[in-house]
Subunit: 217 residues, 2 copies
Amino acid sequence: MAARRVADHRPQADRLPRTKGERTRERIVREAAQLFNTYGFSGTSVADVSAATQLEKGGVYNHFESKDALALACFDYAAGLVLDRIQKAVEPHASAWNRIQGLFEVYRQLADRSFVKGGCPILNTAVEADDTHPALAGRVRRALDAWRGLLKDIIDKGVADGELQTRVSSDEIATAMIAGLEGGVMLSKLYRDASFMRTMVQQLTIYLHSVVQAQGR
Amino acid sequence: MAARRVADHRPQADRLPRTKGERTRERIVREAAQLFNTYGFSGTSVADVSAATQLEKGGVYNHFESKDALALACFDYAAGLVLDRIQKAVEPHASAWNRIQGLFEVYRQLADRSFVKGGCPILNTAVEADDTHPALAGRVRRALDAWRGLLKDIIDKGVADGELQTRVSSDEIATAMIAGLEGGVMLSKLYRDASFMRTMVQQLTIYLHSVVQAQGR
């Protein structure tokens, strides 16, 4: 279930767009996603998107009926890049513990150079949209639900397989990991210093050792 | 040093403004801080501040030469409310462990009802300003430096007094606590669900137990 929801967010990089219109639409989303993620929804106008894509404003509106519709598509695209990267980092590993290490590695990389200009789209959009844009906030909740589901599934499967024993629920562990990692992104971005992210991964590992016992570790 | 820096951020609620001009200036900051903290710097115009304060735009500009100058004053005011609340919650306790519990209590309350409309000004402003507004980002770093200093001082004093023994540096513990708490604020705000914050405080307490040993606990 969680895996399916994550898959919904994936950019379809593995197939070529069929028509010129589709290619233009994807280019608008790619360029605009960087603007929204860097300057925010309020800080980005359709004129900015027009300038970045070198399309007339009407050309942008041909593909998206409103700035709102464009922003939702851009968030789904940008969150999809992050969730896709997380899933790819997790999949090769058979053990739950190594899957979590794969996830941490994504965040260590994210602090050095983000996949999307402007940092983590989930954090950025959550903080801007919570009081101001219900539709966008809903998309962020959907992305976070998918991510929390993926983490819970990893831990639950580790427990079911007899690999892990947990002192607290998989839901609590997933919440602590997501909050800690996103807080680490906030600090690394603000200070432009990846060491905050590395510190967070180390401290989250210490936390995990105290709530999760792994067989044969 | 940290205490002095925190004090710099405190709103001067303990003395009455002397002149009508001072009172007006403080009212502008109070009203505008709520707007900036809810709608962001990009999402708030001087016209919005004028409407909220029922002053002409010229009346706002009498006190602040620009939207930038107003935003900086508003951030200092809002961050000061948070840091002041943290310091008041920490001060009554003699032991380092109880001081940290006092801090957690502030965050549990912050999730139920924030002191400033719009949530945590440090998180909100960090995420918006990091790529877009160097002066504002600098103020957020100053506020976070003060907060991290306050946490480090609590832990370092606990160690010096023989109350605490730590497995990792006070700097790493302070970073983990700040990132975890701010990530918890992000989740609680986005889902409008204070249970995320309570979960984070519980999980941070588990983490603390594994990096800090307190005598007589």
